[in-house]
Symmetry: C2
Subunit: 462 residues, 2 copies
């Protein structure tokens, strides 16, 4: 899509290139604060950047305050805090947090537009989906459900929801708000619908879409995304396959196109390693075609792809366009995190493998301690970015969790309504997994769990 001339004009109002620790992540650049009493004056590259900027000013002018300071990611270290090992938000790297503190930028400036465009391109890489259309907006994972319900599905359409817990219930409710007719296959807690059950359902009725929760954060089940995609391709190829990847994107392998997944929806605060506040959706050509073939317009405004599609295409084309102001700082944070994920020293494949290994380590540790998971065979059917662990008999949340807090470890209580007092949840995603060697998060986590159990009077086997 070619941008309208008016957008090009609007861009002329903005800066062509501002020095930024985000777009210039040169490790040799050690910029310094300009507090002259305590620090040497800028030198080297930092000085030359300030000087480039200063060149634009008249000699008699002093530098305005906005041009005076700079902080490199080498200097920025986040404040001390307890280790956050819940299934999202997760620990966020210093460089990502610094990007979230980027100076305020115009959402249509030539500095910001390519950063947004890069995020769109990198999301395709993370999902192995070179032909998909990502949508990146402010919001949360929940808004992804609205996007599916208001753009892919039309009022009266039949939708099959594979329900593995809390998030299946909610997605079904959201679809119904927008007028879908929902059929659910509900699995017992910690289990998931079998491919046979799903096949039988798909053969009974023509469904416009089928949704499943890749990792249900309430119970830590992992759906067979590949198997489900292949099944739909075989028995109901018109059905749009929707993967709720809020708790799986970037911590679980998702080969969107190869597996026949049509929509992946997620959020920024889990495997993607950013602060919360972004809703991220990717739509296959089939999903976009279903949207374009609607007989009625989308029945949401803020979640409307009719509004967002031209905006995403414009940002990717390098121009920028306006529907609603994008959350610029979170986009910088996402850019930083996606750059690490797609271009860092750990490949995407290696990242997924490390999550499997960390998951096995956590699951083995709690098993050896004599604890059970909510998922019956957690090694086979469980998520790799989180683990749901039952309290040992006689213990409950109030025995264990405050003791973990006292050890500076924050895990999450149960969430599934029926059993929420019987288990706790551990998140092991992102830097906690991939940078574990430097950080030691997993050691600290596991040691603390064991100590808290012993302090609670629990006697492990042997």
């Amino acid at each position: 899509m070619s941008p309208p001339a008016s957008d090009k004009l609007k861009m002329a109002a903005h800066a062509a290139s501002s020095p930024s620790p985000i777009s210039n992540p040169n490790p040799s650049t050690r910029a310094r604060s300009n507090s002259h009493e305590r620090r040497p004056a800028p030198s080297g590259k930092a000085a030359s950047r300030v000087s480039q900027v200063a060149d634009h000013l008249q000699p008699s002018q002093s530098l305005p305050s906005t041009l005076r300071f700079e902080m490199s990611s080498q200097e920025f270290k986040q404040a001390p805090h307890k280790l956050l090992v819940i299934p999202g938000p997760i620990e966020v790297a210093d460089d990502v947090l610094l990007a979230n503190a980027h100076p305020s930028m115009s959402h249509v400036s030539p500095d910001f537009v390519p950063v947004f465009g890069d995020c769109i391109r990198m999301m395709r890489q993370v999902l192995y989906a070179p032909n998909s259309q990502p949508f990146i907006t402010s919001g949360s994972g929940t808004l992804g459900w609205d996007q599916v319900a208001a753009n892919v599905v039309e009022p009266g359409d039949e939708v099959l929801v594979l329900n593995t817990g809390y998030f299946g219930d909610s997605f079904a409710e959201c679809l119904e708000v927008y007028g879908a007719k929902v059929t659910q296959i509900k699995a017992p807690i910690g289990s998931k619908p079998t491919l046979d059950e799903v096949e039988a359902a798909l053969k009974q009725k023509k469904y416009k879409a089928m949704t499943f929760t890749h990792v249900d954060t309430s119970v830590a089940t992992l759906a067979d995304a590949k198997g489900l995609g292949e099944l739909v391709a075989r028995v109901s190829p018109e059905t749009v396959v929707v993967l709720d990847g809020v708790c799986s994107v970037a911590s679980e392998e998702i080969r969107m196109e190869e597996w026949g997944i049509d929509v992946v929806l997620t959020a920024s605060q889990k495997g993607l390693g950013c602060p919360p506040g972004l809703c991220i959706v990717a739509a296959s050509k089939k999903a976009i075609a279903a949207f374009e073939a609607r007989s009625v317009p989308p029945n949401s405004y803020f979640a409307s792809w009719k509004k967002w599609l031209p905006v995403m295409r414009a940002y990717e084309a390098g121009t920028g366009a306006y529907f609603a102001t994008p959350p610029t700082n979170l986009i910088y944070a996402l850019h930083r995190s996606l750059t690490t994920i797609t271009k860092g020293s750990v490949s995407l494949e290696e990242r997924f493998k490390m999550h499997v290994e960390a998951s096995n380590r956590v699951k083995s540790f709690v098993t050896e301690l004599g604890l059970k998971q909510l998922v019956q065979d957690g090694f086979k059917d469980g998520a790799h970015g989180m683990t749901a662990v039952r309290y040992p008999e006689g213990l409950q949340a109030s025995d264990l969790l405050p003791k973990l807090v006292a050890k500076n470890v924050v895990v999450a209580a149960g969430l599934h309504a029926v059993v929420k007092n019987e288990y706790f949840r551990i998140g092991h995603m992102g830097v906690t997994v991939v940078n574990d060697k430097e950080r030691g998060d997993l050691d600290h986590l596991l040691k603390s769990i064991k100590e808290a159990l012993l302090e609670s009077g629990y006697k492990p086997p042997n």
Copy 2:
């Protein structure tokens, strides 16, 4: 509303008190990065905090990486950048950006919950609305329209839209997506509907709601919010009065309850001085009553007050609850900015006065240069947080705006479709106004405009 026991339980899973530059903004705390090669070891309060945290650990344990570092707001200075004087996003203060880089926190932790609660309480102060219900969610101002359209208005309801430009068009479109029957009073560009016109319209038909754009960012008009509120109270008291305050909250006085305004919707990146990514709405008792009296449920999921109302009440009550993950870091940023706005050295009244003065200064300056505003009498009918200025005859965007960029000043091009190539927009809100003495933003801005005009060949009068 009393929180369910399950939420209390969930909270037990989280930290009781973590040291944080946000919740402990003691100016004497000069924490230091732990790069031992270059810096002295932590001393004073910073050291004692680290030691408090370390007390929780066994003596043999080393501090985990998450507990090692801290950065005070005195040390954090944002990177050099061009002066951002568009009508939002605006310049953001260092302490607000540092809050946006807060360590990742659980959205239901006892540390975070009161921060969210404080934001809700402080928003009431900013709006002089002690009895209103604020809603703070991820999103943008646009999502506020969805909230009104899906919660206050029911399909088939009549709504009167006072249209002063781009944002009136869009609000009307949003209302129609959700099924409202919209009547518009469209004012000529740079003008606004008169109270007489509005009164006549209100007497012709019974409207469920009336909406107006307090400051239309496309043209810089300022609506008579007080007059409109009083008018509706007099001639159509059942009508819900909706003020679109995206470009007015915290830069224009809004006495929500005294003036009879029922809904104020806004976003974080303008007068509130934060990065973009938050949708903020406040609803009066009358608006909440209209919501509660609906005959059909809200026709949005993510924008549903049915979902958000219990969440907002729980956070304010100090417990926390879950519907969709709140954007924790942006909430910390908002908390920091709202603390300055409501408890800083400049009172709220003084803040509004300073915006009026800055506006007069900018408007006088361009007038003396012989330039005209889009608003005919900008001093009387124009916004105080922005100014829309016509290019002098013979000049256009491409003459002036790149010259401003070269002077490190970023203004915005035109937005109103009919005249967008005929004018540019200047934002003067937040720190650029309130901290102008230290920052010198306005001097730099005005001087740069004059220089750019002269360089373009423009000859001012005299």
